[in-house]
Symmetry: D3
Subunit: 338 residues, 6 copies
Amino acid sequence: MPRTMPILTLSEMSPGQEADLFLLMTVKEELKTKTNKPYYRVGFRDGGREVSFPIWGDSPWAVDCRERWNPGLFYKVRAVYQETNFGPQLEIRKIREVVEADAADGFDPTLCLPRSRFDPQQMFDELLAIARQHIGDDGLRQLVEGLLTGNHTALLGHPAARRNHHAYVGGLLEHTLSVTRTCLYLADKYAEYYPMLKPPLDKDLVVAGGILHDIGKLREMEQRPDGAAHTAEGSLIGHILIGRDMVREMAAELRDSIALPGDMLLRLEHVIISHQRLPEWGSPKPPMTPEALLVHVADDVDAKYNMMVAILRDDTSPGPVTSRKNILMQHVYRGVGE
Amino acid sequence: MPRTMPILTLSEMSPGQEADLFLLMTVKEELKTKTNKPYYRVGFRDGGREVSFPIWGDSPWAVDCRERWNPGLFYKVRAVYQETNFGPQLEIRKIREVVEADAADGFDPTLCLPRSRFDPQQMFDELLAIARQHIGDDGLRQLVEGLLTGNHTALLGHPAARRNHHAYVGGLLEHTLSVTRTCLYLADKYAEYYPMLKPPLDKDLVVAGGILHDIGKLREMEQRPDGAAHTAEGSLIGHILIGRDMVREMAAELRDSIALPGDMLLRLEHVIISHQRLPEWGSPKPPMTPEALLVHVADDVDAKYNMMVAILRDDTSPGPVTSRKNILMQHVYRGVGE
Amino acid sequence: MPRTMPILTLSEMSPGQEADLFLLMTVKEELKTKTNKPYYRVGFRDGGREVSFPIWGDSPWAVDCRERWNPGLFYKVRAVYQETNFGPQLEIRKIREVVEADAADGFDPTLCLPRSRFDPQQMFDELLAIARQHIGDDGLRQLVEGLLTGNHTALLGHPAARRNHHAYVGGLLEHTLSVTRTCLYLADKYAEYYPMLKPPLDKDLVVAGGILHDIGKLREMEQRPDGAAHTAEGSLIGHILIGRDMVREMAAELRDSIALPGDMLLRLEHVIISHQRLPEWGSPKPPMTPEALLVHVADDVDAKYNMMVAILRDDTSPGPVTSRKNILMQHVYRGVGE
Amino acid sequence: MPRTMPILTLSEMSPGQEADLFLLMTVKEELKTKTNKPYYRVGFRDGGREVSFPIWGDSPWAVDCRERWNPGLFYKVRAVYQETNFGPQLEIRKIREVVEADAADGFDPTLCLPRSRFDPQQMFDELLAIARQHIGDDGLRQLVEGLLTGNHTALLGHPAARRNHHAYVGGLLEHTLSVTRTCLYLADKYAEYYPMLKPPLDKDLVVAGGILHDIGKLREMEQRPDGAAHTAEGSLIGHILIGRDMVREMAAELRDSIALPGDMLLRLEHVIISHQRLPEWGSPKPPMTPEALLVHVADDVDAKYNMMVAILRDDTSPGPVTSRKNILMQHVYRGVGE
Amino acid sequence: MPRTMPILTLSEMSPGQEADLFLLMTVKEELKTKTNKPYYRVGFRDGGREVSFPIWGDSPWAVDCRERWNPGLFYKVRAVYQETNFGPQLEIRKIREVVEADAADGFDPTLCLPRSRFDPQQMFDELLAIARQHIGDDGLRQLVEGLLTGNHTALLGHPAARRNHHAYVGGLLEHTLSVTRTCLYLADKYAEYYPMLKPPLDKDLVVAGGILHDIGKLREMEQRPDGAAHTAEGSLIGHILIGRDMVREMAAELRDSIALPGDMLLRLEHVIISHQRLPEWGSPKPPMTPEALLVHVADDVDAKYNMMVAILRDDTSPGPVTSRKNILMQHVYRGVGE
Amino acid sequence: MPRTMPILTLSEMSPGQEADLFLLMTVKEELKTKTNKPYYRVGFRDGGREVSFPIWGDSPWAVDCRERWNPGLFYKVRAVYQETNFGPQLEIRKIREVVEADAADGFDPTLCLPRSRFDPQQMFDELLAIARQHIGDDGLRQLVEGLLTGNHTALLGHPAARRNHHAYVGGLLEHTLSVTRTCLYLADKYAEYYPMLKPPLDKDLVVAGGILHDIGKLREMEQRPDGAAHTAEGSLIGHILIGRDMVREMAAELRDSIALPGDMLLRLEHVIISHQRLPEWGSPKPPMTPEALLVHVADDVDAKYNMMVAILRDDTSPGPVTSRKNILMQHVYRGVGE
């Protein structure tokens, strides 16, 4: 009655516990002991944790490891979880490649990738709620809703980047929601601060811009078992232009039922193409409207803060500052301890 | 009974009304009519408005204008206010240079300069209240309070810049308060978003950094009747370093009574010197802490938004975008009208 | 029988000849003589030449000039043409604003602007012939033909830029044709040189890219009586993205009847968005295919050669080199004469 | 009668065939098998192909390989050619270092280096023919002919660069001929396009510039068995200045017999020193004449196209685009296959 | 007996004194009085001073001034010197254009231009003496001496630049001498500091490099009555390459009599072409030898110090720092007075 | 009587000699022989030399080496010195970790690091003597003396950088003394050259600036057994600002006893913060006074010359120039030998 064995994730296990796990093999490296005996170091991960441990030459798994296991494949593993001086490890009891039927037990390859700490569906719902509540113009709201609901499934899993920031499952949604909240704050703040601005700040546009600024990443990258990769379109055209395309296509689709007033579509397109601000970062135009400026800032701070968090988490160099070999190409201060 | 004549500002007057005004003469230009007769175009301003009108050769003020009036001086003017096709004008009834005794009637030279739309004392109070409410650490709070109260008078009148942004009386306070509010928002937001950050985000420091980031401008520039000018110290050292000096001096002063914990002073100094981010903008170091990043962003968006507002207000070039001869050195879109 | 008076252009007239002309007033400037008498300097132009001369205070046209004539308007002028030490001038006999009926006599406002030395319709025909002869793929050829014939009228008159290069009526067509010819040469040359290239150089794409690389300028700028001006779309989005839009729209239109093979549309889009090569010149991606590289080079040399010709023609500074205040921001050598 | 064994090149051999080969050893690397037995991987090349294969520990060549064979030396090898899953390999039957007498059998060390696909002598002849046919001015033609014939031997073997483009034997000639042909095309085209240019485009100069623009590379680099290396003069002065020297020296030599008209020599010197356009690429002056502009463009496109071809040929990274670790420092699109 | 009138320079005159002067007319500007009467403001200069004063409409010189005097021409002027609130002025008694015979009385057009404070011949002698004393190698010393004596006359009058630094008669010599002295100091210092350097610092080369680094300016610019102007060669090639040419030509000339050892000539050429360090400043190579580094530094500090002196002397803007519209494009601090 | 064994440094030993040495272990690397036997390569250094040699598996030290020796620790070693084809080596006779009592025999950990060739105390004395002799102003001299004597011990050992230049014990002092001497030379020279400069060049300030320009490095870095490392303050603030702090603190300390005249302190602060000239090199302001310019130049040439010496000493790449992978990121020419 193997069914009695619980199916857990690595993060749920406690030392000594035995369970079944769905894991992605990430590493298989042939090494030698000091006495020159070959062994393998293998790595497995699921969405929340990664483990790495040796398969010695005299292990019952030695032959399987050498001849059958391959990084990039998914495995159902029964193992006892241990915590050692060398970090968390597994004692494997059973292991086989995942089969189609495992889906019934909850196997989902994307669950083995690093992922947002937040629930994608909940983030999606909140984003939609913001659009519904804060975009007053009917046409613009429908355009935004159409793009969100039309890309619902893709949005739940997409990362915001391959490497730079929010590079994990659900990262695009996490980043988009955070940017949109800051957009709301900044739009309210500056609309109140400068009531005399002509034309007045269009809060609808700032919110829509926050929600849609990175929408083109859905076509720029595609999710693969071993991470995100650029599509041909993503390489040759880039997410900034693709995002604008998606907005224009949705606007064309809606055109018969409802119209965007005046130059609103043009201003929204501009918000999207200018959100990286500098030409060398991919924006053919700088922010030329107050709305575009606010969306750019909200995006910029969210991306950089996320990078700084990741650098502080991952850097292992000694001293009061991190190495400068990171995505920000600068030292980050980690403090002097207690 | 001349006392019955009200003392008003230009903005308070309605067409046809007569009143006394304290005005700064800003322009005196000798021109010629089409029939080649010389006349003067003169300009006067107070804190809220500027007027410009001709003194014809046959005016009773013609000789006085040519021989006695001088731009840069302050005048008490009795005049009737008119609105014409050429903008608001004055019919002068009486005019004399301001004398010391006019202070009793409310004359204050800084009131004749362009100024913040907000009440300086109220902004100051609010800034102080934020410091008291949101800076938890005793030492840091006292340091910030000490710098605010110790520079109370100067802060009420100081501009944030000579030309770039918030270049008017009270502009430094207006900018500082706005930055600090955004700092509060961002600190709360990202502290909640990334609770695992080590060391944790120090909200005290973000708030203190927002309040103090531009404090060095008090010594970098000095207010003069005709605007702000750089001091020698401002030219040779710059407000970024001076601001850090002021923080260090206050910390030294307080040292006997209360101590800042750990590396807090160092981190605050870093927030100040890195707040312009790029070396070519005057920051010898980029933001190397999460706190410094947030203060930089809050400052940056506030300055740029203010510039964009000013560009949209002042630019007179034709077409859908402004000229690019402005402080942002780029076109700004003004929309296509109704 | 005023019909006996010929209607000529400025370039067709000889000294002492009288004729009727359709002219655009370009300048009206009030000046004074040495003895301080006011007079006007006026300028008129048609497509091939510009004249400038005084209207003295005692001229019979003095009042009309001061009160009625306005730069930017078109006039039918009867005048005697003279050549003087101060350049070609006109003695005006009759002058009135152009009326609608003048179209019957050949008035066309665009004929008063500087224009290409080549016949637009002939250039258009040649471009179309190149497309038909050298683009082998049916779908791509139809796409290119569709864009050419669908924009026939606009193409005949459009300039290639407001100021930089080929900034005159028909300039876009002249530049496009020249670039396309160089594309043909380079595609043939390098296809022969590197037969082993995989995927092989797609000559169809190079030719189509040459023809379409600047097509977005049709929407980026609009022709006005006094020259070309950026549209709102042109300012906020730019011709590089608009050109790609036009290609995509035409492809969508044709989709039902004929399909583009494989990634051809994507590669064509890439040719267009990368043709300025550098992000700071507006290209979000550099040329990433051999086809894009060739179109970029063909465009680049044609624009720069045209600029150099214009600089050598217009610069009036002394010495062996021109001033560096020109569109290339460098000295150009004009030789040491005979 | 070993003479019956044919002497072939690697490219000429078919699987299973035995022949004698003159080869350059390029690689000798000590490795270990999975069972920890040491072996060598060796590489040999001639002008058209490179092979790489193991010498196992039990091979009859094992000792020779370890103790006598050395990369950088030339060998006469008798071997059987095989094609395997690991690429083309050799079964060595005999091997000895090349001796002087092998020259009689056709050994030429430069034949073992990668080389142009075109026959050097034929390219040289064609270049000379272009000079004779298309350079009208007697003096200039003699100068160009003098430089070509005076450097005949060196030109036949020289690469155009150590690494960047056309980095193989005969590469300088191949590149020069290609550039000169484009120069011819562009000079004819633009001379016809802008007949009004003053001074008129000097086609002689464009052709001469194309032929001579890289002539300084003959002294900048020297050919060695293992590739090209910079000379001291090349490192300290650079090919751009050296090329101008060579032109000036030849002009001085010819001065007694024939004179260059006016400023022609100066303009030719300028073409050479400006052909890389940017100071950071080694040109102290940008192209300041139409002739210099055309030579620069013809050179630039030929170099970049060659780089792109090499990148597409050599890059092995996965996905629709190449890595950006190449000489162009950008991704190149390789298409999406069939 | 007009011969009794002394011929003086402006600097030699005292208020009220009458004398004859040889002056260059630099300014003739038509202006109007406040009562609208036309008058001229004229300027004259000689080598040490410049004067500027009005010629009123009722002056006896009014007609001559309007119809005959021209800026750029030289005049013999008899005048009384006055010092007024508007600066030094002249009351003209006699004035005529300079004639050939005036040379006998000491007229020399270059004496009317601004010039070095030091005696050119003395500077030349000192430079020659340094070469003779401090360059030990016979060949190098002869090369340097040959270039100095062969350009003796030109060197006495040449400026170091048209505008940047030492832009006055004798300026090239003054700059060269100063640089050479610093070279001597630095060469002695660093030779002593790093005796282990291999190859050892070549002091001969540093001194020769100091003397010759700007020698190409003799051909880059030519002296004209109204200042220095670039030659065609100067514009198309530049002084850095020309200077190297002059060295190579002299080396070729001397080759029969004496040889430069090893790579000395190459190293000297490198010193010259690298002395501006950056490609954007005209150096195709950076200093790649210790000798080139020292010459660059000696040149750099001398040019910048001279610029700073000129900026402090000429700037008239108010406040503690100069304007940044100067050759260094930065503020210079002028101090806060006593 | 082991006391008879001399205690020497590596540089003092001759081949075959036996002595005791205090050494820092710098390397311990596990390798394998060709026959796959493991061995260690170890490195030891003292202040003047570094040795590296194998500890074979059958060595009597094999076990100790593997289990007890550690890089970063100091050892007292008795050994015989040998010179071999693989460089200088040691035959170890005895080895133990250093104990406290070894200080009595002259052990000093800093003596094991690379160090200046000059005696620190002597350099310190000379620097002090220069300050006393050449700084005329009493207050400034006391400030400089105070900073020198107050940091006496630290100065004796500090390096000038971690990697860039003078990166060895005593390097800061060596660099400072050299810069100060050049400052003396330049100040004397230019004060004499431009006597008319207003305000006159302040030689006191140039000398003080030379002495103090890098004083902030005392707090920016801290010396550790294995080299210098940045402090938290050094990372977040940088030596340029810290140096100015130290000057200001000393000035505040002295304020009661003696005053600096006028703006002298401000000018000194400016010299320090501008001495790296460019913002991207850490200077928030460029040199805005003649004094700051001279100190910058003296510093710059000393640092670059030192780097060039180190590059020529350390680079091992073949050919006439060094690799460009060095601190100057450029090739350095090493000459063509005899």
